[in-house]
């Protein structure tokens, strides 16, 4: 399998993983649970601004779809940013070699 086809399939797989995210457990995670049990959850402060807070795309009534949409955006964004950084670092290397 050529490499481009491989990573495009892998990216598609990541989008599928994001699509099943509404099935995730909504229980508190390890740290949150410890903070609740040990009585320091109340010192947590929220963010001064919200964009796609808590992986729910704002303004969409269907929460499952709002979560899936947040997941798709995140997957594509993370792919783009990490790819972009790696590409920038790489092309700087090529220029430096000239």
């Amino acid at each position: 399998m050529n490499y481009k086809k491989w990573w495009l399939i892998a990216l598609g797989f990541c989008l599928v993983v994001a699509t099943i995210s509404p099935l995730a457990s909504s229980s508190p995670d390890g740290l949150e649970k410890v903070a609740e049990d040990k009585g320091f959850i109340d010192v947590a402060q929220g963010s001064p601004f919200e964009i796609i807070a808590d992986y729910v795309f704002p303004g969409i009534e269907n929460e499952a779809f709002a979560t899936i949409l947040a997941g798709w955006i995140g997957v594509l964004l993370m792919f783009g940013i990490a790819y972009g950084i790696a590409w920038l670092v790489q092309s700087r290397k090529n220029k430096a070699a000239v």
């Binding site: 490499y3 229980s27 410890v34 010192v43 402060q45 808590d54 790696a86």
Partner: protein, 212 residues
């Protein structure tokens, strides 16, 4: 394991920011030296996969959930500095866009999940696979153990930060954090092994990329 703002003292915030910024700087420098053409899509895929997999909280004992961290997976496939870089990308995105993890706590989150997670996994994996041999089976066993330990050690780092910040004493935070993450780490190990097997089965050459 994303620490929200409010849990850490100013000194802890400052210290972890300095360490993580230094770590990212060094990761970029080494990436600049060692990244090849094939690394570029792989870095993107790993960041995308970690983001997606982190959304899938799985239930563990007692009304608690855990999720994949991913530093061990990157460390095994691309090396510890690549893990620092990719975890920094994912955690920064989660912090600023998805409001998961505090802005002041970002340095600590990158330190725990990227630096502690990535480096512990890398050296445990390397050590164990040197002992167990070069077979795929030995790589998967080493990968499972390294992933499990990386989650446990990241949670211990988190407990120490909570303690030095005066949020929760070490005698309370450490056993509680280590206890629950020893279970969550099993999930980390299983996911890492599944992904590494998938890469082995489809493009085993990608397991031989230069480590960063």
């Amino acid at each position: 394991m994303h620490i929200p703002d409010g849990f850490l003292s100013t000194a802890t915030v400052a210290t972890t920011y300095v360490i993580s910024a230094g770590g990212i700087g060094n990761a970029v420098r080494l990436a600049n030296k060692n990244l090849g053409e094939k690394h570029i899509p792989m870095m993107g895929i790993l960041a995308a996969f970690i983001f997606a997999a982190q959304m899938l909280n799985f239930p563990v004992a007692g009304g608690t959930s855990g999720h994949f961290l991913g530093a061990a997976l990157v460390a095994i496939l691309l090396g510890p500095w690549a893990a620092v870089l990719i975890m920094a990308v994912v955690l920064t995105g989660q912090c600023f866009i998805f409001q998961d993890g505090g802005i002041l706590a970002l340095g600590a989150n990158i330190f725990n999940m990227g630096i502690v997670g990535g480096f512990s996994a890398y050296y445990i994996y390397k050590g164990l696979s040197a002992v167990l041999g070069d077979s795929n089976r030995s790589k998967l066993i080493s990968g499972f153990a390294a992933s499990w330990a990386s989650v446990l050690l990241a949670s211990i780092a988190c407990a120490i930060e909570l303690a030095v910040s005066g949020t929760s004493p070490l005698s309370v935070a450490l056993p509680a954090m280590a206890g629950v993450h020893a279970i969550i780490g099993v999930g980390e190990g299983l996911i890492t092994v599944a992904v590494v097997s998938l890469v082995m089965a489809t493009r085993s050459d990608l397991l031989k990329l230069q480590r960063i």
